[in-house]
């Protein structure tokens, strides 16, 4: 869709805080609460797309980047106002349970998060490639004018796509909240990481995002082991620059924008 969502990471942080609210106020485990977080963020995404991004579709691309930067600042500092700067962590029943799988020490919470994330990615894939709405989204992303000509309500499709993106990231936030302490300022770093992943993997490619995610995490972990933990981001940024220069479409992307 080529909407650069600078607020991506901040939406994730909101997903985390919503999970935290659900867990502390209503006692809902984040592994159930993530559905609610996804629904809430879906609405946020819908509103942002319909109310803001939609108004400037014809403006230069730079304006839209700046607009999302504004949304990111509002979301991040809204979280700061609402929840304060202290790092939080959500307690889940699964947080402390672990087991040994042969020689491997497995953390149940992480395993469940991994499984749900894979399931969600698969569901997204099936949605985009198997349903009419999914196909329309891909068509609109590929050629908005063409999609309009064949009768797709492109504005609605965009809004839904944006909402789905926000819902996914909201769910992701809720799912990692049991083992990843978070604070409002984490949003920006998360946005930058997700840009890294998407650019490296290839914009508009689900498989690319998946492989990019793996690649960035493995590269960062290797960097942490072989260089220094504080230098791990250096690896992913260097990787990003190389990809930008030599394969701007990303590993699995079809073309550069």
């Amino acid at each position: 869709m080529r909407v650069i969502n600078f607020a991506h990471g901040d939406m994730m942080v909101w997903g985390m805080y919503l999970a935290w609210l659900l867990a502390t106020r209503l006692g809902i485990d984040p592994y159930l609460g993530f559905v609610g977080c996804a629904a809430a963020l879906f609405v946020v995404g819908l509103v942002v797309q319909r109310g803001l991004v939609d108004r400037i579709v014809d403006a230069p691309h730079e304006m839209q980047i700046l607009l999302m930067l504004g949304v990111a600042l509002v979301l991040e500092n809204g979280a700061l106002l609402a929840f304060g700067p202290e790092p939080q962590r959500v307690r889940s029943a699964l947080t402390l349970s672990t087991f040994w799988l042969g020689p491997l020490f497995v953390d149940v919470a992480r395993l469940v998060t991994f499984a749900v994330a894979v399931a969600l990615s698969l569901a997204l894939y099936l949605f985009l490639f198997g349903t009419d709405l999914g196909r329309t989204i891909r068509a609109a992303a590929d050629n908005a004018y063409g999609a309009l000509v064949i009768g797709a309500d492109v504005r609605r499709v965009y809004a839904v796509a944006f909402g789905i993106g926000a819902a996914c990231v909201g769910a992701a936030g809720a799912l990692v909240s049991p083992f990843l302490p978070f604070q409002p300022s984490a949003g920006l770093a998360a946005s930058v990481t997700s840009f890294n992943i998407v650019i490296i993997g290839g914009m508009g490619s689900l498989l690319g995002a998946f492989v990019g995610g793996l690649l960035v995490s493995v590269a960062e972990s290797l960097g942490a082991v072989f260089l220094a933990p504080s230098l791990k981001e250096l690896v992913s940024f260097s990787l990003l620059i190389l990809i930008l220069l030599f394969r701007p479409a990303g590993l699995f992307g079809r073309r550069a924008g």
């Binding site: 980047i65 979301l75 700061l80 106002l81 700067p85 920006l188 220094a228 504080s230 981001e233 940024f237």
Partner: protein, 314 residues
């Protein structure tokens, strides 16, 4: 317009005689950020190459001048040009990679962000320049070391910086160079088709812009007396630099100045208001809201709007 500008300048020169030290401090930041915004304006506004990594140049300028002063005893009055030159070198590298490989729009944004982040991480991990603790400059009050016991000295230096950058931009605007830059922003392909060496002019814009920004780093270091990698190289500083010209009007001479006069006091006010509630840093919510409003309703920025308004009155 010219008379109004001169009158405003006269007021600004006379102002330290009347206002208190708090207002003076606010104004110093207004000028300083207007200066940085003006420097950004050359490449980001006129040439339309959206850089969100200008903090890298501030940081390199600041660290260079501070290290030269602390380690080699070189006066920051010279160190600032060394810092500017190093920043310009980095600007040339980023520009070369970005423009030679044809990165536009969001791809160029990411490239600049990535370079600034790499600078930040390297600074965090280099113990020789203070690592994560940063650098602290001992206050001596020696003007030869760019240190002044009187706040008014900083006031006039910041004002001078802002005027100097504005003069540079004014000159560029008047030359063929400025026209080329605007043409590149409006339609790069057409500009190239007409035989303009767009690569050369974009590079030049980037180098001038990063040089000026690097010089500004010296002021930053010797006004605040402490440097932390996360603040001088961080994305939030880049946002501070970008947002003023955008709100004021990117690619206009008065934009960064007007933007700074709107945003810096506003940031100060909301910081004051939010700080009482214990929410430090939340002033950025005002930036975000303003940025959204400007993009939606005043995409050209406040300065062109104001000019049109004044022209209609007259």
């Amino acid at each position: 317009m010219r008379w109004a500008a001169l009158a405003a300048l006269g007021v600004l020169i006379a102002l330290p005689a009347v206002v208190g030290s708090y207002t003076l401090t606010v104004l110093i930041f207004v000028f300083f950020y207007a200066y940085l915004g003006q420097a950004w304006n050359i490449v980001g506004g006129y040439a339309g190459q959206l850089s969100v990594g200008h903090a890298a140049f501030v940081g390199i300028g600041a660290y260079t001048a501070a290290m030269l002063s602390l380690g080699a005893g070189l006066t920051p009055w010279l160190g600032m040009f060394v810092g500017g030159a190093l920043s310009a070198a980095l600007g040339a590298v980023i520009g070369y990679l970005g423009f030679r490989f044809g990165l536009r729009g969001f791809y160029f944004v990411l490239l600049t962000v990535a370079f600034a982040e790499i600078c930040r991480i390297v600074a965090l991990n280099t113990e020789a320049i203070g690592g994560a603790q940063g650098l602290y400059i001992t206050f001596t009050g020696n003007p030869r070391q760019f240190q002044f016991p009187d706040n008014r000295a900083y006031y006039y230096i910041a004002l001078g910086l802002m005027l100097a950058a504005t003069a540079v931009v004014w000159t560029i605007e008047r030359k063929r160079f400025g026209i080329y830059l605007t043409a590149i922003r409006e339609d790069e392909d057409a500009c190239q088709a007409l035989g303009v060496d767009t690569f050369k002019y974009k590079m030049l814009a980037m180098v001038v812009s990063s040089f000026l920004t690097g010089v500004g780093g010296t002021f930053y270091a010797f006004y605040l007396f402490s440097l932390q990698p996360n603040t001088v190289f961080g994305i939030p500083l880049s946002v501070e630099i970008v947002i003023r010209p955008i709100v004021g009007g990117a690619g206009t001479l008065g934009g960064p100045i007007l933007g700074s006069f709107i945003l810096s006091p506003l940031a100060e006010l909301s910081r004051f208001y939010f700080a009482r509630g214990g929410w430090s840093g939340a002033h950025l919510i005002v930036y975000g809201g303003l940025l959204i409003l400007v993009v939606l309703f005043l995409p050209q920025g406040a300065y062109p709007y104001l000019r049109r308004l004044l022209a209609r009155r007259a």
